[in-house]
């Protein structure tokens, strides 16, 4: 059995042209959804990565599972709103518990994080298997996400001009909010991320910024989770930010770069998934990690190649 037998032959027309000419209305939404998720996560990720909270996103994305299940069991509906609030509560609970365990005992932050999210995830899986018949929830969906079905969703009309799938519209709103908040509170975020002491001295409370960022992270992760699944949210949170930080030292440029990287990775990801006939979210994260690999090797000022040549 050879691994290469599984790869379908590459046909440029079939992979890159046909989706836009033949199935444009489906493809555009998968791409837009991927872009919105990656861009929202990426912009937020720039700050998360600098604050060394990269794995908190991972934790939140896992522990939304019990939140969703409990919300479903309580309301008996698969409506978006209860699900969203269940997940949000679980996300906030996660960050609170992590902080509680690590401030009230000698367990380190990373261990506390590992304890909290795995426990909540385990509770979620047990709940699903106990009420399995009633819950129309799929653990696979939790992990992979189902971005492929985004255009089969109900649509809403936007400004009377486009018919936008509900999910895409919602994610767009979240991404827009993230962008607005980052622009409005740019100074506070920047100063408290790099120099909490300075932040305190100019009247910014780092604790409030921290909790606000956690809330925003929970909201973003919960909305993104439906599209790309639990584990890949973390790829979208970390990779654009680290890739951009390999290329620049200026925060505004990094933020701009993450948006560009998001666009590239969701576009190429959609095509890669189509070519190999695999999970779109998985393909997108493969693309985004390849982009990081390229930046790591060839970055003009701190790439491995440049470092090797200087030596």
């Amino acid at each position: 059995m050879n691994i290469f037998q599984n790869i379908p032959p590459f046909d440029f027309h079939e992979v890159f042209v046909m989706p836009w000419t033949e199935f444009g209305d489906v493809f555009i939404w998968i791409f837009v959804m991927g872009f919105l998720v990656t861009a929202a996560c990426g912009m937020l990720g720039s700050f998360i990565v600098w604050r060394q909270m990269a794995l908190v996103g991972d934790a939140i994305s896992h522990s939304v599972l019990p939140g969703i299940v409990v919300a479903f069991l309580l309301t008996q509906s698969r409506g978006t709103l209860p699900m969203f609030f269940g997940a949000l509560v679980a996300g906030i609970l996660t960050t609170t518990l992590i902080e509680f365990i690590h401030t009230k005992s000698r367990v380190k932050t990373d261990a506390a994080l590992g304890i909290v999210f795995t426990t909540l995830f385990a509770i979620g899986v047990v709940l699903i298997s106990m009420y399995g018949e009633n819950v129309d929830l799929d653990t696979d969906c939790v992990l992979y996400g189902e971005i492929e079905y985004v255009s089969q969703d109900l649509t809403v009309s936007l400004f009377g001009l486009f018919d936008v799938p509900v999910q895409v519209a919602r994610m767009g709103a979240v991404a827009f909010c993230v962008m607005l908040l980052i622009v409005f509170f740019y100074k506070q975020l920047l100063v408290s991320s790099f120099d909490p002491g300075l932040a305190r001295s100019i009247g910014i409370n780092p604790a409030i910024v921290h909790h606000g960022l956690m809330l925003l992270l929970s909201i973003t992760v919960v909305s993104a989770f439906e599209a790309v699944g639990a584990i890949l949210v973390i790829a979208m949170l970390i990779f654009p930010a680290t890739t951009a930080s390999m290329l620049s030292d200026r925060m505004p440029i990094i933020l701009g770069l993450t948006v560009v990287i998001s666009a590239i990775s969701s576009l190429l990801g959609v095509h890669l998934a189509l070519w190999l006939d695999v999970s779109t979210a998985g393909a997108m994260s493969v693309v985004v990690s390849t982009l990081f690999g390229l930046a790591w090797m060839f970055s003009p000022n701190r790439g491995l190649l440049v470092l090797a040549m200087r030596r």
């Binding site: 691994i3 037998q5 990269a54 590992g114 995830f121 298997s129 399995g132 973390i234």
Partner: protein
């Protein structure tokens, strides 16, 4: 009392270890069961299931239980080292990073061959840890981000490969998704054998190089001075960790493997300060959680073993988080409460001493109003204070000429003398040795008086050449005075016979 309970817990631990060891041996001898699902047993009653579980006659059950115990033991052992090395989330990254290896192993072998999958997973896992270290050493990116990148990147690749495999027409691919969530009941005896081998291997390696691992975990500089190749042992640990992750993967799934690594070890970390005890406790908690997971999933028709194991482990963690004798939240709160009470009582008896000193130690009782005036608080507050004092059996309240008076009993008087002595000795030390001004020393002494131990006091006395007076000219109660207050009290429980110092 706390140390006693700790000790008995430790003894129980040894007994448990022996019992688990026996069960393990018996099960190893009898582990040749077929793979099947526990959920096949739906129709059987709860009670019957209980009997079946404890009679251990079911071969499937024995396989599952042996697998769970091996998993718990192995993860508990290695988890302790990664928790104390602050590498907790390396297990998480590893368990996700092995996924492409699992898929490639499957593709190469063409079917679900445990050995091929095992090798693929180990290679992928090690590649992941090497990559984390490479990113960390060649860029400015921090450890958590590099862990996250390896985790997510490899996992994305793994998902792509697995979806490819699932769509391709290869033989029996059932059970590949078990790597995501795990299914102990689907373990075959071959897999359990691999698990047992890996567990024994980890035990042997850790046993042989215990000192090297220990020193490397806590003191990198010392380990370097001893000539221990730290890098080698780091990667040896990572290799063992990769083994542990891979064998646990089918049982509990990628997401929850790190739980079995972190949670039992963290529970043990809260219970003891000694590494070997932590290792033993962590292994016990791991095995206990494994057995509990297997037990509870056996009771219901459709219950997954892995998550139940994790929930059992988390329950143990919650218990030690709150109730650990030394580091637990409740015990720390109790200690804090005891200390506040003691300090409050010490302040009260000190004030009583001061009032009596002002009266040249005439009369035994101290009027409540005089005490309230001395403490600069209301009569009501002072009465409350005095009540705490009488509750702690340090004194009694009696009516003298229509006024309420507080009488200290010998223990109370001893406490008063000790606190005053500590206070005045410290003041003297600060003025004489640390060259503080005499009017600056009171505040500091107010705090330290509650904390000075006997040993420190002896040292202070020697250093200050057994002084009799403090910087303000007041007499310091000496050790001899303190001893006399105890030995010379004629009637133990009645307030009487207290002399002034140096009488």
């Amino acid at each position: 009392m706390m140390s006693v309970s700790c000790k008995t817990g430790y003894m129980n631990g040894y007994r448990f270890l022996i019992r688990f060891g026996l069960i393990l041996t018996v099960l190893t001898l009898a582990a040749n069961a077929r793979a099947a699902k526990i959920s096949d047993l739906e129709s059987i009653e709860f009670g019957e299931q209980l009997v079946r579980f404890f009679s251990m006659e079911d071969e499937l059950l024995r396989t599952v239980l042996l697998g769970s115990l091996c998993l718990g033991l192995c993860c508990g052992l290695l988890g302790s080292f990664i928790v104390v090395r602050k590498l907790s989330l390396v297990g998480d990254a590893l368990s996700h990073a092995v996924l492409p290896g699992v898929a490639i192993g499957f593709i190469v072998a063409g079917h679900k061959d445990p050995l091929a999958i095992f090798i693929g997973a180990i290679v992928a896992g090690l590649a992941g840890t090497v990559l984390v270290n490479l990113i960390k050493s060649t860029t400015h990116i921090k450890e958590d981000s590099s862990l996250g990148m390896v985790l997510a990147g490899f996992y994305g690749l793994g998902i792509v490969l697995i979806t490819m495999v699932q769509k391709a027409s290869i033989g029996n691919k059932a059970g590949l998704d078990k790597f995501l969530f795990g299914q102990v009941a689907a373990l075959s005896s071959k897999e359990v054998t691999i698990m047992a081998v890996i567990t024994v291997l980890s035990l042997v390696v850790i046993g042989l190089f215990y000192k090297q691992f220990l020193v490397g975990s806590f003191d990198a500089a010392y380990s370097k001075a001893l000539g221990i190749p730290a890098q080698f042992f780091h990667y040896l640990l990572m290799l063992l960790l990769a083994f542990a992750v891979v064998i646990s993967l089918q049982a509990v799934g990628a997401v929850l493997v790190s739980a079995m690594l972190i949670i039992p070890a963290s529970s043990a970390y809260l219970l003891t300060d000694r590494m070997h005890r932590m290792l033993i406790l962590s292994c016990l908690f791991g095995m206990g959680s494994g057995a509990m997971g297997a037990f509870f999933s056996f009771l219901g028709p459709n219950l997954p073993t892995g998550p139940l194991m994790v929930i059992a482990a988390s329950t143990v963690f919650a218990a030690s988080f709150f109730l650990s004798p030394k580091h637990g939240l409740v015990s720390r709160w109790l200690r804090f409460r005891d200390r506040t009470r003691r300090i409050r009582n010490e302040n009260t008896v000190k004030a009583i001493y001061h009032v009596r000193e002002k009266n040249y130690f005439e009369g035994e009782g101290v009027d409540i109003d005089a005490l309230a005036a001395r403490l600069k608080e209301t009569r009501k507050a002072t009465l409350l204070r005095v009540k705490f004092l009488t509750d702690a059996n340090l004194g009694d309240v009696k009516e003298v000429d229509g006024n309420k008076n507080i009488f200290l009993n010998p223990e109370g008087w001893l406490m008063a003398c000790t606190v005053v002595r500590n206070h005045r000795l410290w003041e003297l030390y600060l003025t004489n040795e640390a060259e503080f001004e005499a009017d600056h020393v009171h505040e500091d002494a107010e705090k330290i008086e509650h904390m000075l131990g006997e040993e420190t006091v002896r040292q202070l006395e020697r250093l200050l050449d057994f002084p009799r007076k403090d910087p303000h000219g007041k007499l310091i109660p000496s050790l001899a005075d303190l001893q006399r207050t105890l030995t010379h009290s004629p009637r133990k429980n009645e307030p009487s016979g207290y002399r002034m110092p140096h009488s």
